[in-house]
Symmetry: C2
Subunit: 247 residues, 2 copies
């Protein structure tokens, strides 16, 4: 009576995943499928699966958001993330929310069928957490100080990416205006914003703020999705704040 859940919006990939499950030696009586994060959360409550294979980029709710909700109720649920990109935005999101009691995997879609199959077995049967080699690099970076952004820096990066002013950030984070600018300076430095004096007249070529957003996007530190979720977080926090104020 063991059930497994597939969460993936692309129909082709969904079929592929079902095939992989049938190929692996899982004792599997049924496979349930969801097309987006919200459906996934519902189906978990309904079927109580033994494990989940999930895409990260999906409509309605990101894989990260869905995982967070699922782990909140089932802190031991094994989840294999199967994604296209090694975007730091995603990796960072996951490593932040994975509970100590859960095993998980992060496999790239470029991996071979065999590799995916083996990974699934490792996570679901042997309770191992495994992470694709390509992603390891990103993960190291985000933990070790070396070159990667610290949490505050990443935070302020998202803040300017959704378009906040220094003052708005200061309010939001409860720090002084100058501190925001200090954090920004750090961020700029880490992103390698060294002004090259290519333009004559000694006027700056790049706007540090906008440039750092561009660099972050191009180096996959952030992406459209992460901006959207950051935005959503911001407005909901704002609402809460204005309710408090009313008291």
């Amino acid at each position: 009576m063991s059930t497994y859940l597939i969460v993936e919006d692309d129909a082709l990939h969904r079929n592929f995943l079902r095939e992989v499950i049938s190929l692996s030696d899982l004792v599997c009586s049924q496979v349930v499928e969801a097309c987006d994060g919200e459906e996934a959360i519902r189906l978990v409550q309904l079927h109580e699966p033994k494990g989940i294979i999930m895409d990260l980029q999906m409509p309605k709710k990101t894989g990260v958001q869905a995982a967070k909700a699922i782990w909140a109720d089932n802190p031991a649920m094994p989840i294999v993330f199967w994604s296209n990109y090694a975007d730091e935005a995603y990796v960072r999101g996951i490593t932040k929310i994975v509970p100590a009691s859960a095993t998980y995997g992060y496999i790239l879609k470029t991996s071979s069928k065999e590799r995916l199959c083996r990974s699934i077995q490792c996570v679901f049967l042997e309770g191992q957490s495994i992470i694709d080699r390509e992603i390891r690099g990103v993960q190291q970076r985000s933990h070790g100080r070396t070159d990667g952004l610290s949490d505050v820096e990443y935070e302020v990066l998202l803040d300017i990416a959704i378009g906040l002013t220094d003052q708005a950030i200061a309010n939001r984070r409860n720090i002084s205006l100058r501190s925001v600018q200090g954090r920004l300076q750090q961020l700029y430095a880490k992103l390698g914003l060294v002004e090259m004096p290519t333009l004559e007249g000694h006027t700056a070529e790049y706007n540090s703020r906008a440039r750092s957003i561009a660099l972050a996007l191009m180096s996959r530190l952030i992406n459209g999705k992460s901006i959207e979720t950051a935005e959503a977080e911001y407005v909901s926090a704002l609402k809460l704040r204005s309710i408090e104020k009313r008291d």
Copy 2:
């Protein structure tokens, strides 16, 4: 002896496309596959296919870039774009470069197999250009003034998205500083940057420049890829300019 070319980086999707071709009534003696834009360009020269089905998001060279190169040599080549998103960045890119002599199609990956099959037949056999309904909306918007950005506005949007200062934009586009700011004002207005006085103390909540980038990203006007290509264009144009200067 008719050959067709599939350009798609995802292996599963590649197989799916091959299956669709075999299902359609194309007189097809062989199917050639490429995994990225550059390979596609090479294979077109080598095999001179009767038609191309191509993804838009690919490593090395975008589908748009590849199509541009291909159409430069074969202005009548029928190309079916098969893509995940209805991102304006892509639609705009394509409608700009498609030569009058070519037929093309733009089908979303969410379409059914039957629909894709029919579309392929229309484009390759009957020489019709067809565009998915969802995308039509985007296309209308970008041509009709209604709400959509004009070309200059889109241009300046990309300029700030890669991080240029007003002055740098002025130099690049050969207009005055004030004109750049004028264009930016238009852009801000069209993106709906109306300052809501939510923040007390009457300080601005949003930085117009960064905010417009965020809005553009969230509404799919631009994406990471379009920023990358804009960046590449800019640096190469810069190089040319500095060579001219040397004379």
